[in-house]
């Protein structure tokens, strides 16, 4: 069992948890993920590692409530335990040798973008950050990003905070103003990563993205997480989750990610109904 040492609600739908997992903390690198099960009969879901503390032996996850499992996860309190927590899985993000990078984060994807930005900053890389949210209430990790960025742009879809617009607007402005990046690292909803890649392709800037497809084991066993990269089939769990965004077949990836949508909606409703009953 894996104990929740700390829990903090970052906004109405996004929560941070610090989990006691010394083996995983010892080996974690930015870009890697864990798989967890909330309870005995739960499904296995992958979540990218948001932070880790090797000395304390903790791994931080940040998740958004999107379905039944995250809803159940969100019912757990500090001191309670997760049934299963395994990792670190996947290949760490490649950060070596990068001198100037634009890190683009969208929504809860910022939770994954942050440790990468932090690592780049620590190795002396110039980091420009563009983070985007739907609205001010959903902003997370603003101070954290600011602390590791040489330049930071805050975007909201509705203009309630920072600049009104999409992350691609801000990124294009930076590039047009003459900023030359070794690489763009974009992490967020698949649709956002797709548009970032369309933009950077135009300017010929290499762009790495982090994929989060449906998977079961996370060790290369099921192949459910496969996607097409540069015409070849890759497994996100072992070959990724980071891939060259200019090579990824986004249409396929987006289609595969909603494979079980009707089932997942049903499950989510069921859990919500159960929770409501408990409250009554």
């Amino acid at each position: 069992m894996y104990k929740i040492l700390k829990r903090k609600d970052l906004n109405s739908t996004v929560t941070l948890m610090e989990i006691e997992a010394p083996y995983i903390a010892r080996k974690s690198e930015p870009g890697q993920f864990i798989i967890l099960r909330v309870d005995e009969d739960g499904e296995r879901i992958p979540l990218t590692i948001a932070d880790f503390d090797r000395e304390k032996g903790t791994v931080t996850i940040i998740y958004q409530i999107v379905g039944a499992t995250t809803e159940k996860l969100n019912q757990l309190k500090e001191g309670e335990c997760l049934q299963d927590f395994v990792g670190p899985l996947g290949t760490p993000s490649h950060t070596e040798g990068l001198k100037k990078v634009a890190v683009v984060g969208g929504g809860v994807g910022c939770a994954i973008a942050y440790p990468v930005a932090k690592k780049l900053h620590e190795q002396g890389c110039e980091v420009h950050t563009v983070v985007g949210f739907r609205t001010q209430d959903l902003v997370i990790l603003e101070d954290e990003f600011r602390a590791v960025s040489n330049k930071m742009v805050m975007m909201t879809d509705d203009g309630s905070y920072g600049t009104k617009g999409l992350v691609t607007n801000a990124l294009e402005e930076l590039i047009q103003s003459g900023e030359q990046y070794d690489e763009v690292i974009a992490i967020g909803p698949v649709i956002m990563m797709k548009f970032v890649c369309q933009l950077t392709k135009k300017y010929n800037v290499k762009t790495m993205i982090s994929m989060n497809p449906i998977m079961i084991d996370g060790t290369g066993m099921c192949g459910g997480c496969r996607l097409t990269v540069g015409g070849e089939t890759k497994f996100a769990c072992v070959d990724g989750p980071d891939f060259d965004g200019h090579q990824v077949d986004f249409a396929e990836a987006m289609s595969r990610s909603i494979m079980y949508q009707p089932f997942e909606r049903g499950q989510h409703e069921e859990v919500c109904n159960l929770l409501k009953k408990e409250v009554q």
């Binding site: 083996y23 060790t219 099921c222 192949g223 496969r226 595969r256």
Partner: protein
């Protein structure tokens, strides 16, 4: 007087048209009367040819004699001396090509139903014995076992019996390996696997789940930092192969690993399971091995109307056990033999809606000795399916070989060992099962786990 009947006592089974709608066990097991009657068919030959067909060398005539004497617990104890998983082997071993192949009674008539008797003895023990197995005195040496599948469980059991302090590291959340994620409930109830794992735990074996060796901790760290004297790698062949034909990434195409894992380990067959699975009506399973049969029979039970086995060679070359093929046919699985898929089609939402196939004929034998299938030009036809399961094989996961310096592997990614001992190119590191041989059977993996346990014991004793 031996029972001179030329045929085995028939295994009681659920009726085909009933069982293909449920996930309960197909074979129901012998009654005590049937077991004693079958045991009486054994001639108790002096040279015991059956034993040489058993990868773990069970004293077969001895346990069968105990059954004929109605000492069922005694029979179990004889088996348990050599096998860590009797209830599993009695169900999934291909006895027809092992022990039973050498049975003298098989020369004229059917061999003794050794597998069925083994299962009977093991089930009798599990149902009636409440006594925990003795925990052997510790010899003070630690051995790590990577992977809680048949090879690892066997190796761990044998070492624990000799007093070793054994820890099994398992990547998934449950011990059992292919016994829990691959082989379906109706062929091997998961409660039986759990009982066998619990027996090992009672003997002092520790099972650490959620530990991915090569990620959570490396083989070298197990020896250098965690103080293990030796490591046994039984991590299996978990990486699924695909055909690399167009349409394989459409929604509704599964690897057999994924399909079976969703159904078995994640219990997608149960009402209210948290794990989704495609509700398919027409399913094609590509491949002809036991895994393909398992996937096809699961698909049928999940409610598919038409389930096809699509295999490129003929019935004779089907790698699956004859019994499994027979069971599949009885349950209404349709065999499309000498058939190979060339493309999978999808609808506008990228869900599978058909598959193009070609007919094959058998040409000259290839390097495997089997006749090579050759495409018949112009034989293309459309198979109406909404789900495709690729059951064309697996290879070892690269994680351990990529994170263990100096561990020699071959071009298939299998760990190279010195043969019977399972010693790898690294001192103190042994391997066995599918990670060495590529995908094979449960019992071969168990045999490898057993030999490696003996070799590890010798290695540690000599080192002292």
């Amino acid at each position: 007087m031996p029972n001179m009947s030329l045929v085995k006592n028939k295994m009681p089974e659920q009726e085909a048209n009933v069982r293909n709608k449920n996930f309960q066990e197909v074979a129901l097991g012998y009654t005590a009367e049937q077991a004693v009657d079958e045991a009486a068919r054994c001639l108790n030959c002096k040279n015991k040819p059956c034993i040489k067909g058993c990868p773990v060398n069970i004293e077969i005539p001895e346990f069968i004699t105990k059954i004929s004497e109605q000492d069922f617990e005694g029979a179990y104890q004889v088996i348990a001396r050599d096998s860590s998983l009797p209830a599993v082997c009695g169900r999934v071993c291909p006895q027809e090509s092992q022990c039973e192949q050498f049975c003298v009674r098989g020369i004229k008539g059917e061999p003794v139903g050794i597998g069925r008797l083994e299962r009977f003895a093991a089930d009798y023990h599990n149902d009636n014995c409440t006594e925990a197995p003795a925990k052997p005195a510790s010899n003070g040496h630690k051995v790590a076992v990577v992977g809680a599948g048949p090879a690892g469980l066997t190796c761990a059991g044998d070492l624990a019996r000799q007093g070793y302090d054994v820890t099994i590291y398992e990547a998934l959340h449950l011990a059992g390996g292919v016994l829990v994620y691959g082989i379906p409930e109706f062929r091997l109830p998961k409660a039986i696997v759990q009982t066998e794992v619990d027996t090992l735990k009672q003997m002092g074996v520790k099972v650490e789940t959620n530990m991915v060796i090569g990620r959570s901790i490396a083989v070298d760290e197990l020896m250098a930092e965690e103080g293990f004297d030796a490591v046994f790698i039984g991590s299996g062949a978990g990486l699924p192969s695909f055909m690399n034909i167009p349409g394989e990434n459409l929604k509704g195409v599964y690897s057999a690993n994924e399909f079976l894992t969703r159904v078995n380990l994640m219990k997608a067959y149960k009402e209210g399971s948290a794990t989704p699975i495609m509700q398919a009506k027409k399913v094609a399973v590509v491949g002809g091995g036991n895994v393909a049969m398992d996937a096809a029979r699961c698909a049928k039970r999940l409610g598919a109307e038409d389930v096809y086995i699509v295999y490129r060679r003929s019935e004779e070359e089907l790698p699956a056990r004859a019994e499994e093929v027979e069971h599949a046919k009885e349950e209404g699985i349709i065999f499309k033999l000498l058939t190979a898929p060339t493309e999978i089609y999808g609808n506008e939402n990228r869900f599978v809606n058909g598959m193009n196939c070609v007919q094959m004929e058998l040409g000259e034998p290839d390097t495997s000795g089997r006749r090579r299938p050759v495409v018949i030009e112009g034989s293309d036809f459309h198979l109406d399916v909404d789900c495709v399961v690729m059951a064309i094989g697996t290879s070892p996961n690269p994680l351990i070989r990529n994170t263990t310096e100096g561990l020699e592997t071959n071009r298939h990614g299998c760990i190279v060992t010195n043969g019977d001992d399972g010693l790898t190119s690294r001192e103190g590191v042994y391997a066995g099962g599918d990670v060495v041989t590529g995908a094979a059977t449960v019992i071969l993996a168990m045999g490898a786990g057993k030999s490696a346990a003996a070799a590890i014991d010798r290695y540690i004793k000599e080192k002292k």
